[in-house]
């Protein structure tokens, strides 16, 4: 109890940061949904909760998020299995690249999907030629299936990463002993493996659910106007249908409140589940792995065949759209037909290019990377402190506190963007249009990932190690630096890379707060799309994929070296 004072002081600074840059602005905007003519009123909330249309939209939002989460698990779990159990060339690179989908702007993914799965897409054309059909056989685009698959494209890697991390930490001797005692493979998986990887799986699934719950450009582009989610409603009411009495604005704010409560409820539920399932695991021996491809006779084993079938499907789903974008960036339609070209690349890198006042793509790359690094540099200490407090202190209401910390992740991006615009537009925080505003916004959005990555590891850490170090005379900071940090290094790097990726892909807040000269890569993609230059957005997307992929690989390498001593 004696040290409470110090810990409270440690907490005060990051809490102040969050109150000023998140809770305050958000509360200020959500208040719009609870007031009418300046007085408290439940009218808008009542409208949102009772109107048939809004009920339809809310239920659809939950339904598509559920389906998308299930699809992400179905597609992400086998890859985690492969990464844990098998060896193959470039495994580390593949693992680092699983995060790339996460940074892609929705317009790029929507286009990649259309090129691959559309009526005139490669897959449908291939099947029509193969079977001599007159109509495209796979109505994937412009449907709920398309939305769910696109969400899986984004989010299955989250499942893969969280499950893979849990699986690698699981001591293989548990499974080996069970097998030796005669348990079948299935029962070993059901009774031993699954319960041990369940916390990882659930935490991943909850994240995916929240992301899909809040997703809106994918719903608008891949699904199309016939689908609407809470987030789409907020966007159209707050942005495109403003009225002088601000009725739509207030309905949007009320919807945002409902959305926030729902996604926080999911967060709370999952934190409870995770808390109940957490186990101490001390891994003493690393897991042995087998080569993925052991020869042609692999194809004789049904399980291996199934695995290969999965690899084929996931290559189509994850690599296909990206490949389609790469091809699109190298093609040009002319009156004589399509041909290969590099003109879109020279087009986006022409320095004196007439368009894009004040913003060159090169500038956008530099901006993206420096915003990402800056935001991560703020988010890491922030997340570390919070994770430490949550994991180490046993006090009533810590789950609630943890849930509230996750609020930036559970907040609609449009609401956050407008809330920050309003907050940063008034003194004393007149920061709109500055890079500081963008970096702070990104830091607020991404720090929950650091917390999420660290809490489970810190909780399962053997406290005795720290106590031993302290009793041998190490100071609090030294124990943290020399004992705890190296032990959580993997999690910290994974969280930081993820946070960095989220910053690279962020668009709503960046667009809202940026002024000319502060564009990021996704903004540049979006800009090029609104020109009559058809291949340029694809070329910019390819540049973005390349830059982020290299950044992730370097960050993982560099991070491991920096933390492993």
């Amino acid at each position: 109890m004696r040290r409470w004072g110090g810990e409270q002081l440690l907490l005060a600074l990051p809490m102040l940061f969050l109150v000023v840059f998140f809770y305050g602005p958000i509360a200020n905007l959500l208040r719009e949904g609870l007031t009418k003519d300046g007085a408290f009123s439940l009218e808008f909330l009542w409208t949102v909760l009772t109107d048939d249309y809004f009920r339809y939209v809310i239920l659809f939002t939950l339904w598509q998020a559920l389906l998308s989460t299930l699809a992400s698990i179905a597609l992400g779990l086998p890859l985690a299995f492969i990464l844990t159990h098998y060896d193959f060339p470039l495994k580390r690179v593949v693992r680092a690249l699983t995060i790339v989908p996460f940074v892609l702007p929705a317009i790029t993914v929507a286009l990649g999907f259309a090129l691959l799965f559309g009526r005139n897409g490669y897959l449908n054309q291939f099947l029509m030629n193969l079977f001599g059909l007159s109509e495209p056989p796979l109505p994937i685009m412009y449907s709920l299936t398309g939305i769910v698959l696109a969400h899986a494209f984004y989010n299955a890697p989250i499942i893969t990463r969280t499950v893979h991390a849990a699986w690698e930490r699981l001591d293989p001797r548990y499974e080996e002993s069970a097998r030796a005692l005669g348990a079948s493979r299935f029962f070993v998986f059901k009774d031993i493996t699954l319960p041990m990887i369940l916390p990882g799986l659930l935490s991943g699934a909850a994240l995916v659910f929240i992301f899909c719950f809040l997703s809106f450009p994918i719903v608008l582009s891949v699904g199309g106007g016939r689908f609407s989610t809470i987030e789409v409603e907020i966007y159209t009411r707050v942005v495109t249908r403003l009225d002088p009495q601000l009725v739509n604005y207030k309905i949007g704010a009320a919807l945002a409140l409902v959305g926030l409560v729902l996604s926080l409820a999911v967060t709370y539920l999952y934190l409870r589940l995770q808390g109940g399932l957490a186990r101490q695991t001390e891994q003493l021996r690393p897991r042995s792995t087998a080569p993925l491809f052991a020869g042609v006779r692999d194809l004789l084993y049904p399980t291996k065949l199934l695995l290969w079938l999965y690899v084929l499907c996931s290559v189509i789903l994850f690599v296909g759209p990206v490949l389609a974008i790469v091809v699109d960036s190298l093609r040009e339609e002319t009156a004589e037909g399509a041909r290969w070209t590099l003109r879109w690349y020279s087009y986006i890198f022409t320095p004196n290019y007439e368009a894009l006042v004040g913003d060159s793509p090169l500038r956008a790359i530099i901006n993206s990377l420096s915003f990402g690094l800056g935001a991560t540099a703020i988010a890491v200490p922030l997340g570390l402190i919070f994770a430490y407090v949550i994991a180490r202190l046993r006090w009533a209401g810590r789950r609630l506190f943890d849930t509230l910390l996750m609020a930036p992740l559970a907040t609609s991006s449009i609401v956050l963007a407008f809330a920050l615009l309003r907050a940063f537009n008034a003194p004393p925080l007149r920061l709109v249009g500055s890079s500081t505003a963008v970096i702070i916004a990104h830091a607020v959005i991404i720090f929950p990932f650091i917390v999420r990555a660290l809490v489970p590891i810190l909780e399962s850490l053997d406290v005795r190690l720290t106590e031993m170090a302290r009793s041998l005379g190490a100071g609090r900071f030294r124990a943290l630096r020399e004992i705890e940090l190296p032990l959580v290094a993997t999690g910290l790097i994974a969280g930081a890379v993820f946070a960095f990726a989220l910053s690279l892909g962020e668009m709503s807040a960046t667009l809202m707060l940026a002024r000319p000269g502060l564009s990021t890569m996704p903004v540049a993609v979006y800009r090029f799309l609104s020109q009559h230059s058809l291949g340029a957005p694809s070329a910019m997307s390819v540049v973005m994929i390349a830059v982020s992929a290299i950044a992730f690989i370097l960050l993982e390498r560099w991070g491991e070296r920096a933390l492993r001593f």
Binding site: Y53, Y56, L111, A114, G118, R119, N120, Y142, L220, G224, G225, R226, F227, S228, T236, V239, T240, D243, P244, E333, E354, A355, L356, G358, N367, S370, F371, L373, G374, T376, A377, I378, P381, L421, R422, N425, A426, R430, L431, V432, G433, S434, S435, T436, A437, I439, L485, L511, M512, G517, L518, Y526, R527, S530, H532, S533, L534, A562, L563, F565
Partner: protein
């Protein structure tokens, strides 16, 4: 080691970012123009900036275009209700801001303040108080891929379009998020009236392949062969000869872009001069090539090839702005409910 690494990251990140720029609020020497992204991305913005700055030494023009005109308007409103806006001027589609007057964000102008307004035809002046000054216009029509559809296969009326032969053959834009989509919705309301337009849309839905959030993404899908018809502009053939306009009911729905001076600007005179410059022949003659729009100034020369490729529909139509301002919200609401729930 860790501390050093964190410090390095902190310095790289903050140093780079901090150095680049800091908060800039509108000053006397700066003219901030809020506009839609395509005006900046492939429009005449750069030319205007260069020339206007040349004519007014010491003045800097800054274009802020982080979304379509409706999104920019939302940004303007949000800035106004929180702590003031740096914007001096707003450029956007008139149907996107029909209620701008009620928001009280724009200053009414007098015709004599904008000398070049003399050459603008009266039918473009939708606002009698001149809070919005038109600078370019065009026509929303259907556009078809002439390599996919033969002339005899084309629909001629709105009714034709609902026939089963056109199932999934049309790409449209979302009226809630796109100006073009909204114009198409208003066009059906113009033809079918308040009472019957929803019924028409119910019958039209099977012909629609997808309702895309914006014109650009929709057009990209169209060029990739997803569907042979799209709601677009009557000038598209000037860009690619394969894509030809298709006039339903011999009509085209007018789309007009206007400039407004923000109330409370510290540069009212300069803002008016900017609008006058926007209407000058030298800028206006840039519009066909950059914006693919007709100039508002009738004195401006139009490129020669436009005589054949840019179609002016025999019956241009538009619902009066004050009627739109009164009803648009309800129309959009009813439309959204229909397309989302199917009821």
């Amino acid at each position: 080691m860790l501390r050093r690494a964190a410090l390095v990251a902190l310095f790289i990140g903050l140093g780079l970012a901090w150095g680049s720029s800091f908060a800039q609020i509108s000053e006397g020497s700066k003219l901030v123009v809020y506009t839609y992204e395509s005006f900046v991305a492939w429009g005449p913005a750069k030319f205007i900036k260069t020339e206007f700055e040349k004519q007014h030494p010491g003045i800097e023009v800054e274009f802020v275009a982080t979304g379509p005109s409706r999104a920019m308007f939302a940004r303007l409103v949000n800035e106004r209700i929180s702590g003031g806006t740096p914007a001096d001027l707003f450029l956007g589609e008139v149907n996107d801001v029909p209620r701008a007057k009620k928001f009280g964000l724009f200053t009414p102008l007098k015709p004599e303040e904008i000398p070049n307004l003399r050459s603008v035809p009266k039918d473009l002046l939708l606002d009698p108080d001149l809070t919005i000054v038109p600078y370019e216009h065009g026509f929303i029509t259907l556009v078809y891929d002439s390599t996919k559809l033969k002339p005899e296969e084309l629909p001629k009326t709105f009714e034709d379009l609902t026939k089963s032969q056109y199932q999934k053959k049309l790409i449209v834009q979302n009226a809630l998020t796109s100006s073009v989509g909204q114009s198409f919705l208003f066009w059906t309301i113009y033809n079918y009236g308040e009472g019957r337009y929803l019924d028409y849309w119910r019958r039209l839905l099977p012909s629609i392949l997808t309702i895309q959030p914006g014109w650009s993404a929709a057009y990209k899908l169209f060029t990739k062969g997803e569907a042979p018809m799209i709601v677009s502009f009557s000038t598209d053939e000037c860009f690619d000869a394969r894509y030809k306009p298709l006039l339903l009911n011999s009509q085209g729905y007018r789309t007009i872009f206007g400039a407004s001076v923000i109330k409370g600007t510290d540069n009212p005179k300069l803002a008016r001069e900017f609008i006058n410059f926007l209407l000058s022949p030298e800028v206006q003659e840039k519009l066909p090539d950059t914006e693919v729009m007709f100039p508002a100034n009738s004195q401006a020369k139009i490129p020669d090839q436009w005589r054949t490729c840019a179609v002016i529909p025999p019956n241009p139509v538009i619902i009066p702005l004050e009627y739109v301002a009164e009803n648009a919200d309800r129309w959009l609401d009813e439309w959204a409910r229909l397309v989302v729930t199917g009821r």
